[in-house]
């Protein structure tokens, strides 16, 4: 192996008389490095955005949901009260509701009425606030589908409320929503049992475990839907996005590997006489094959390592310096986030090595199969 390392190192670095081969080796090294850097940057960008999205999900979203196994309403009893007592660290909000119409200043909009048992004020989400042009302190008239008999006949129940707060949109919330305390809900929609219970932990990091905490303490006819299940479509889309974009960018590595293959084939042709001489001196075919594999994997590994470092440092600098700002109010972050991870770097390095190995195999096998005598006649 000592001789192989000496030969490989000298052929890669020395190349005393074959400067065009050295230049091509440099280009190959650069191509592998650029490919690796592009892949690391892309994965860091994806990780940055996806981490932000996941953080938004855990910070603003529901961590678990309790639903009836059958029917529209959760069963009665004190199980919810007991659950609250056992888990004071969790926020549990029992919800019921239905569709209503909201009007304000001559504007009208349909909305989803959510009756929240832990709420003591009236809240509207941004969509409803924007469609009616209301803000905190503004009056809002709500008409429910429940009818009451009036001297003029049946008429919908109406209430005029003061909006206490406009709440930001929750992840996945795309409709106008009005949230009211239970007594207002009963007045608008009549007596209703809760349809579901939202569970949240004040610590967003525990979002993934909330379901398992309450799982064993529920009545048989209540099921818990975990954070992962609640957000399955989005999480699956994020995973798919990472795989597909990673795969697409990894094609750069394939191009770089093909360049490496061409370079090695050129080097093998240039070193045809050397190969024959080395075999005449006692280097067997297997070691000659190893030599060219070493050359290819050496360039690939060096390029991949350099590119991975370059990409990781570049991603870190771009993130720390907020180099790519985003318009405020349009995105949930102020700058393009990059998050290089050791796992992604290891994957890129692995891909570099694998691509280099696969690209080196054909020329290495071809060199080892060559006739020594033919090589000696090459001079």
């Amino acid at each position: 192996m000592r001789a192989l390392l000496l030969l490989a190192g000298r052929y890669l670095v020395g190349l005393r008389r074959r400067t065009h081969v050295a230049a091509v080796s440099g280009v190959t090294f650069g191509a592998m490095a650029l490919g690796a850097a592009a892949l690391v940057l892309t994965l860091a960008l994806l990780e940055g955005f996806q981490t932000t999205i996941r953080r938004q999900l855990t910070e603003r979203g529901v961590h678990a949901e309790l639903r009836p196994r059958s029917g529209a309403s959760l069963p009665g009893g004190d199980w919810l009260q007991r659950l609250r007592q056992r888990h004071p660290e969790l926020e549990l909000r029992a919800l019921s509701g239905g569709a209503v119409w909201c009007t304000s200043d001559g504007e009208a909009a349909p909305a989803e009425l959510e009756v929240v048992d832990t709420l003591s004020r009236v809240e509207v989400n941004r969509i409803l606030a924007a469609s009616l042009g209301v803000g905190a302190g503004a009056p809002l008239t709500v008409a429910s589908p429940r009818l009451v008999l009036t001297p003029l006949g049946f008429a919908p129940v109406r209430r005029t409320l003061d909006v206490a707060a406009v709440t930001p949109l929750r992840p996945g919330e795309e409709r106008a929503v009005l949230r009211v305390p239970p007594e207002l809900g009963r007045a608008l929609l009549g007596l209703q049992g809760p349809r579901r219970v939202e569970v949240r932990s004040p610590d967003p990091a525990l979002a993934w475990d909330v379901a398992s905490r309450v799982q064993g303490e529920l009545p048989d006819d209540v099921e818990v839907v975990s954070f992962r299940e609640l957000n399955r479509p989005l999480l699956a889309a994020l995973a798919l996005e990472r795989v597909m974009i990673g795969f697409g960018v990894a094609l750069i590595m394939v191009v770089a590997a093909l360049n490496l293959l061409c370079n090695l084939a050129l080097l093998a042709a240039e070193k045809r006489l050397d190969s024959a001489l080395l075999q005449a001196m006692g280097l067997d075919s297997a070691r000659l094959r190893q030599l060219f594999l070493l050359l290819g994997v050496g360039v690939g590994a060096a390029g991949g390592l350099a590119g991975t470092l370059l990409g990781a440092v570049g991603a870190w600098v771009l993130d720390v310096t907020h180099a790519i700002p985003l318009p405020a109010g349009v995105f949930i972050v102020s700058h393009v986030p990059f998050r290089p991870t050791p796992g992604a770097a290891a994957v890129v390095l692995g891909i570099s090595m694998l691509a280099a190995l696969l690209a080196s195999l054909p020329p290495a096998l071809a060199v080892a199969r060559r006739s020594v005598v033919e090589g000696l006649r090459y001079e």
């Binding site: 001789a3 008389r17 001196m281 020594v372």
Partner: protein, 231 residues
């Protein structure tokens, strides 16, 4: 490695044939060649171009394989060797000098001389020490740090001879070693070859077109279409 028989001839060739191509394009280069070379003998092989001298030398040097017949080196039938054993023989028991110097361009003269030892797995320092000593023996002690393209033709060929001998082979095969040199340089290189042959107890087979150099060998054989005959 296979055992070498101490009393057998250095080279024993029986009915060796070798051809290239197939079908109508088949060319038989060697037919039924027989040869015996004693240990310590310096044999010159002459003959017209294209008659198969280099091919014959390649067969003796385990660089190629005969189509028929048997070749024994120091009692070992080389046809029975595995590819790895053949490589090991080329590395340690056979030294090869080519018409062109065959030095590797990316390595210094000292590294070139040491290369067979490095391939054999010797420590780099040991190999370089032995290469330095042998470089001095062939009169290139002051040129060890030079690259091949910085040496004259005679120096390159002397370096090639040193490389062929550094691993202590018993058999030296030289294919027109002075073919690219002027007469004076050729004479000097050949004289050095003779000295090394004697001092190291080598068996040498030398292909040459130079009749005067061939005459300085122990025996001269001419290779022609019907085989080997005394010149």
């Amino acid at each position: 490695m296979s055992e070498v028989h101490p009393t057998s001839p250095a080279v024993q060739v029986d009915g060796v044939g070798k051809g290239y191509g197939s079908g109508d394009r088949r060319v038989e280069v060697l037919r039924g060649v027989n040869l015996e070379v004693r240990r310590g003998e310096m044999l010159a092989l002459v003959g017209p171009s294209g008659v198969g001298k280099s091919t014959f030398l390649h067969l003796l040097g385990l660089l190629d394989q005969q189509d028929s017949g048997r070749i024994q080196l120091f009692g070992q039938d080389i046809g029975l060797l595995t590819p790895r054993e053949r490589a090991r023989w080329r590395n340690l028991r056979i030294g090869f000098v080519f018409q062109f110097h065959g030095l590797l361009g990316e390595f210094t003269l000292q590294e070139n001389i040491a290369m067979p030892l490095l391939i054999a797995g010797s420590r780099r320092d040991d190999a370089m020490d032995r290469a330095r000593d042998l470089g001095a023996v062939v009169g290139l002690g002051h040129r060890l740090d030079h690259f091949p393209d910085q040496l004259s033709g005679g120096e390159q060929q002397r370096g090639a001879i040193a490389r062929a001998l550094v691993a202590g082979p018993a058999l030296l095969l030289a294919d027109e070693p002075t073919g690219n040199l002027d007469a004076a340089t050729a004479g000097a290189v050949f004289e050095m070859l003779q000295k090394l042959h004697l001092s190291r107890g080598l068996t040498s087979v030398i292909v040459t077109h130079n009749a005067s150099l061939a005459a300085r060998c122990d025996r001269t054989l001419r290779l022609n279409a019907v085989g080997l005959e005394a010149a």
